[in-house]
């Protein structure tokens, strides 16, 4: 069991003694780090965007108006603040961000913030359903593999898990589309319906994208669950539970699973980046009008404010979820000390 980056240091011989003050101190320190990292992210993003080839003014006014005379263009640059030194531009942009103003899309002048807000439920629906599928498949399969280790069942689960990790989600999606849409004609090929508006068509439309994203994700969850459960099954208290005559079911469900799911919880949290990246691919394949689709459209249309907004939202989400998973780790496992 070795959780990911930001891995907590399990100091030796610290089982005794109160853990809470450490946890509080740790949580506070992590919370204080967040603004610093967010600042780094915005700085990186700002300068990446300014390294972009081409003058943003032409992107802002559109190709058709590129024939405007020099004076008018200079005036527009002045209005848009593009003549200011870069640090000033960065400061202004940051100040706008702090007010929740992400700017306006180059493409249709729509407020980026509003556009993103409207798409969050769509991507959330896809992502949460995929996560649910991944956990519902991955955790039981991983547990069974660990309990029946070195059996045929274990090998099957391990192989399926490695397949899940290695298969490209878009290829898997294509195979699903070929089978269920082209050949069998059971499901619609693309489109999106909100789950609250019309549940049945919504589920019909979500089956394939959710399967493509969720099943590929379940592979790594299976592997983590397996190694985590194995770790716990080798511990003394499990042997004690067996020795006092509990049946195997109770030992596994009541004793082993509880503790072994702790690292799994954090791994699930850390898969958010995969889900967000995957949503770009899957939303485009299935014509789902969510954030991933918005991001790719922004990339293809060189719509920098929109891209900036989506990337900021994604990174902020990842930071917050990482913090929450680390904190859950600290709160749930009193043995862990953070230095």
């Amino acid at each position: 069991m070795s959780p990911r980056h930001g891995k907590p240091n399990v100091a030796a011989g610290n089982r005794a003694g109160p853990g809470t003050p450490f946890v509080i101190a740790y949580v506070m320190r992590r919370c204080l780090q967040i603004p610093f990292v967010v600042l780094l992210v915005t700085l990186a993003l700002f300068f990446i965007m300014h390294l972009l080839p081409g003058d943003p003014i032409y992107a802002a006014i559109g190709e058709s108006e590129a024939s405007l005379d020099e004076v008018a263009i200079h005036q527009m640059r002045e209005d848009l603040g593009l003549n200011d030194p870069l640090p000033v531009q960065y400061g202004n942009w940051l100040a706008d961000l702090a007010r929740g103003d992400l700017g306006r899309s180059f493409k249709d002048r729509v407020s980026v913030g509003d556009n993103i807000k409207g798409r969050i439920p769509i991507t959330a629906q896809l992502g949460l359903m995929a996560l649910l599928v991944a956990v519902c498949v991955g955790v039981p399969a991983g547990t069974i593999a660990a309990v029946k280790r070195n059996s045929i069942l274990d090998y099957c689960v391990t192989i399926i898990a490695i397949f899940g990790i290695a298969v490209p989600s878009f290829w898997f999606a294509m195979l699903l589309i070929w089978l269920f849409v082209v050949t069998l004609g059971w499901l619609p090929a693309s489109g999106f319906v909100g789950i609250w508006e019309d549940p049945w068509p919504a589920i019909e439309h979500m089956v394939l994208p959710v399967a493509a994203l969720g099943l590929t994700l379940s592979g790594s969850i299976m592997r983590y669950t397996r190694s985590s459960v194995l770790d716990v099954l080798n511990q003394d208290y499990v042997r004690t539970a067996r020795a006092k005559g509990l049946n195997e079911r109770t030992v596994i469900i009541r004793h082993a699973l509880r503790n072994s799911l702790l690292p799994v919880v954090t791994v699930v949290g850390l898969q958010l980046g995969y889900l967000l990246g995957g949503s770009i691919i899957i939303e485009n394949m299935f014509a789902i009008p969510g954030l991933g689709r918005l991001a790719l459209d922004a990339i293809n249309g060189r719509d920098y404010p929109t891209l900036q907004g989506v990337v900021l939202l994604f990174t902020f989400l990842v930071l917050v979820v990482n913090l929450l998973t680390d904190m859950s780790y600290a709160v749930l496992d009193p043995r862990i000390r953070y230095s």
């Binding site: 070795s2 959780p3 990911r4 980056h5 930001g6 891995k7 780090q33 610093f36 990292v37 780094l40 992210v41 990186a44 990446i48 390294l51 972009l52 070195n150 490695i162 397949f163 990790i165 290695a166 298969v167 490209p168 878009f170 290829w171 294509m174 195979l175 589309i177 070929w178 082209v182 590929t216 994700l217 592979g219 790594s220 983590y224 190694s227 194995l230 770790d231 080798n234 791994v267 898969q271 958010l272 980046g273 995969y274 967000l276 990246g277 995957g278 770009i280 691919i281 485009n284 394949m285 991001a295 790719l296 990339i299 891209l307 990337v311 994604f314 990174t315 990842v318 930071l319 990482n322």
Partner: protein, 301 residues
């Protein structure tokens, strides 16, 4: 990218420093048949990539208006695409881009991540704080989003894609190596090195870096898989190496638009990506088993 790099357990240096398991190829193959098969598949793919111009029966860019969307046959073993190009020849050439980008990305990631990790772990203090917060910031970007953005900025060439993927993967290396150095630096041999007057640079370069190598090799094998997937994703989204250069992801993109007319087009490029990624994962697992005896006892204990 999935978190398969994260279950790399720290290499148990103390036990195996003197008796590092010597593993000859035949022995490795017997103990880890899956990894051995994976290694052979990788060799086949590398050979296919190296000798693609010799092996390919057709010019991968040669169009043939008459024989469009042919199903696999003796003359076109994988069939032909919308422009009548031979899919087998294109798949062979596609291996070049995939492997080239992946190898270079792993090298870039290692070249950035390993020294930073060693420095950060060994020196600690403010250097450590800065390096770790910067890795936090980079890791916060979902890897595909970061790669897409960087490729958009830098332009879709092989070199830029490899840079984008390498920069995205570097923090994982830095963290992995840092964690390892933290446990290595308090060992007696480091104290001994200090006692005989070795400089910090010498300790890092001569004594710490070689001992992080096993972990880095396992990480590299696993990252190869994720880099190949990432490159394919970029090409699939149309943000990767520009056509007409054949890439597996690009071929799948074209195949997706033909999924009703010619579903067979998606089979081979997809299977190629899948097989090579799978192989690097299995090989990485095998190497880890050899290098980390602790993990084996957990698995089979």
């Amino acid at each position: 990218m999935k978190a398969n790099m994260d279950d790399i357990a720290p290499f148990e240096f103390a036990q195996s420093a003197r008796r590092r398991p010597r593993c000859r190829p035949a022995q490795f193959a017997r103990r880890h048949p899956m990894a051995a098969i994976a290694a052979s598949i990788i060799v086949v793919f590398v050979a296919a990539a190296l000798f693609a111009p010799l092996l390919a029966p057709y010019d991968p860019a040669a169009t043939d208006g008459v024989n469009r969307l042919q199903t696999p046959s003796a003359s076109h073993v994988f069939g032909t695409d919308t422009l009548g190009r031979d899919v087998f020849s294109r798949a062979l050439h596609g291996a070049r881009v995939s492997l080239e980008v992946a190898v270079l990305a792993v090298l870039v990631a290692g070249a950035i991540g390993v020294p930073l990790g060693i420095l950060s772990g060994f020196r600690g203090g403010w250097i450590d704080t800065i390096v770790m917060r910067v890795t936090d910031a980079v890791i916060a970007f979902p890897s595909l989003v970061l790669a897409l953005t960087l490729v958009l900025v830098l332009g879709p060439t092989v070199v830029n894609i490899m840079l984008a993927l390498g920069i995205g993967a570097a923090p994982s290396y830095a963290r992995l190596v840092r964690g390892q150095v933290l446990s290595l630096k308090n060992m007696e041999y480091i104290t001994a090195a200090r006692a005989i007057g070795a400089t910090d640079i010498r300790i890092m370069a001569r004594y710490l870096w070689p001992n992080t190598l096993p972990t880095v090799i396992v990480a590299a094998s696993l990252t190869m898989g994720t880099a190949i997937l990432a490159e394919a994703s970029l090409s699939f989204l149309g943000v990767g190496v520009r056509p007409p250069t054949p890439t597996w992801g690009g071929m799948l993109n074209e195949a997706f638009s033909q999924i009703y007319a010619a579903p067979f087009l998606s089979v081979f490029p997809g299977a190629a990506i899948f097989l090579i990624t799978l192989s690097f994962n299995l090989l990485g697992d095998g190497i880890r088993d050899v290098m980390d005896p602790r993990l084996r006892t957990i698995d089979h204990g």
